[in-house]
Amino acid sequence: MSVIASISLLVFIGLIVVAVIVIAWAIATYNGFVQLRNQLDNAWAQIDVQLKRRYDLIPNLVETVKGYAKHERETLERVIQARNMAVSAKGVGERAEAEGILTGALKSLFAVAEAYPDLKANQNFMGLQEELTSTENKVSFARQFYNDNAMTYNTRIQTFPALFIAGMFQFTKREFFEVKAGPEREAPKVSFS
């Protein structure tokens, strides 16, 4: 009798220990997910900040270029159009595509600027070019950070046994932010008028 009692006591203690370990693991896993998700949200916000900054810089750039390169209306309009499209884009996929087109349009604008020495020497233009180039870099660095984190997060929530916790508290897979390559850089147009 006493042997059975002590065995059942042992089993009981064992069960409690297992339960405590499982609960502790669940809490740690859940907190890990939350931390990762917050990091992801933050990374996404960073991308957003840089994209907004780019939208704000573009009208200035277009105004500056307009003063020197009146014959490039087509290129300028394409940049404006691409910008407006990107501003109104919704969802990760659509936005990424619009960003790709905008990047391409900007590239061709800077290529066009090569043909105007006065414009290239303009202090304002130089500043804007640096800002836009860097903003472009920042978008891609923020994107790279976001994607790395999204990859870690996605792997984590799909891995056994953590996937139970993920399913229970609705941690869902995140989409990657991939910018598709826009139209290729065009040769600068030189007008002799």
């Binding site: 990374a43 800002e131 860097s134 920042k138 660095f141 790279q144 984190n149 792997t155």
Partner: protein, 460 residues
């Protein structure tokens, strides 16, 4: 990326506590050894005091020590937008919670380092020589390496390790000296009562006194080198362009002259050890791995991910660097293409920026020379060093702080009739000669006219 930091933190905690254990043992055994039975606790107290003193020295003078009197100027965005942009780019790539401050040091030798043990104090310092020698990709690599140090929390760790190392060294020095001075007499009197435990304690103490500082030093330098490799790996991962850092390292190593503010305390912080930049091999006492090897590893990377660095490191160095868990959680990353941008700041621009921040006023001569007028320059004109023409120093240079000017009336009543001096509102001493007979005098410090009412009006 987060795994990496966590693994680092775990390893640092282990290392610091290992050094702590050595310190405690050293204190206890040393006390027993020098003071005889029961002296262990006094030894422990001494150990703690030494540690606290080292910590206090570190926290009081860390910044001054790091800068070694270099006195860099903190840059604002307008001073060099491109450098700022690069720092911000790397902050985004690394996910650092704050943008580090940027410090520019006027020094022709190219180098950079990071310091700050709290995110609010994170600072990346670059020399002006670095800015005009590297192109954008290379500078990005360097900034990424420094950001990597901040991200991996190397600064805190290396500082803490240095404090522990210092404490161990100081404590064993104390024990050694007291032992030589008065230990012999005491040990003779104690030998009767000393048991076996006592003998073991003495043996451990002796071993620790002799080997402890050496081991701690070896550990410290090994860690320092490892952290350099890790920061290189982080830089490659952040920039996706290992070549940038590789060619930057080459350029930095080629410039032989070390920065003027180098000392033994701050060498672990630099991107390349300025005192041994070209050494092809590194000894166990080097803070940095040989630059050539770092470059080779970076150049033989197949991609830009941590795993690629690990593979290249294994080939060049043997043994692993990055923990398996960190590798597992880091996704594959391809390299990017080079950009075609030149130096971030020209040689002259860099110097002008540093001077402007230090309070210099630029005066441009018609011969094209720009003369930097240092703060505190007393005369009102300056001679061009090239063509010899004389130019007035702009008023901004000699202007009095407005508060001070308002507080002090521009009037002085003479007290005696001989030589006399008084302080102008700008703090400058104005001297009145016995032959002075006017009713106003010009302050040579700030150039203001000061009304002087002579003694004659009050004299009877």
């Amino acid at each position: 990326m987060w795994e990496q930091i966590r693994a680092n933190r775990r390893r640092s905690a282990m290392l610091i506590s290992l050094m702590g254990v050595v310190l405690v043992l050293l204190g206890y055994c040393g006390g027993e050894m020098v003071l005889g039975g029961g002296g262990g606790f006094i030894g422990l107290i001494v150990a703690v005091v030494v540690l606290l003193a080292q910590l206090a020295i570190y926290f009081a003078g860390a910044q001054a020590l790091v800068l070694g009197g270099a006195g860099g100027a903190e840059l604002s965005r307008d001073d060099c937008p491109r450098l700022f942009n690069i720092v911000e780019e790397m902050q985004l790539a690394s996910g650092l919670p704050v943008t580090p401050k940027v410090l520019l040091i006027q020094d022709p030798s190219p180098n950079a380092f990071a310091f700050g043990h709290k995110p609010e104090n994170y600072t990346i310092a670059v020399t002006s020589g670095l800015l005009h020698r590297l192109n954008r990709d290379e500078l990005q690599g360097v900034i990424a390496h420094e950001t990597g140090h901040l991200k991996n929390q190397d600064v805190q760790f290396m500082m803490l390790a240095a404090v522990m190392l210092g404490s161990i060294a100081v404590l064993s020095e104390i024990i050694w000296r007291t032992m030589r001075l008065g230990g012999r007499a005491r040990s003779r009197s104690d030998s009767r009562g000393g048991g076996q435990a006592q003998a073991i304690l003495l043996l451990i103490g002796l071993l620790l006194v002799i080997l402890g500082p050496m081991m701690a030093r070896l550990l410290y330098f090994a860690c320092s080198r490892k952290r350099e490799f890790l920061a290189d790996a982080s830089a490659a991962q952040f920039t996706r362009y290992p070549e940038g850092l590789a060619s930057a390292l080459e350029k930095i190593a080629q410039a032989a002259e070390p920065p003027a503010f180098t000392n033994n305390a701050n060498t672990p912080m630099f991107i390349v050890n300025p005192l041994a930049a070209t050494a092809e091999s590194s000894s166990v006492f080097s803070t940095h791995p040989p630059t050539g090897k770092r470059v080779r590893i970076l150049r033989s990377m197949a991609g830009a991910a941590l795993a690629d660095y690990e593979a290249a490191y294994r080939k060049a160095h043997g043994g692993g660097l990055i923990g398996a868990q960190s590798l597992q959680s880091s996704p594959a990353q391809a390299k990017r293409d080079a950009s075609d941008e030149g130096p971030v700041l020209g040689r002259r621009e860099a110097r002008a920026t540093v001077r402007r921040n230090a309070g210099y006023v630029p005066v441009r001569c018609t011969c094209g020379m720009e003369i930097g007028v240092p703060p505190g320059y007393e005369r009102k004109d300056v001679r061009c060093v090239r063509c010899g023409s004389v130019w007035p120093v702009p008023a901004a240079q000699t202007a009095v702080p407005p508060v001070l000017a308002a507080a002090q009336p521009l009037r002085y009543t003479r007290r005696i009739n001989g030589w006399e001096s008084f302080r102008c509102g700008c703090g400058h001493a104005v001297l009145i000669s016995p032959t002075f007979s006017g009713n106003s005098i010009r302050c040579t410090g700030c150039g203001r006219q000061i009304e002087v009412s002579t003694l004659g009006t009050a004299r009877n």
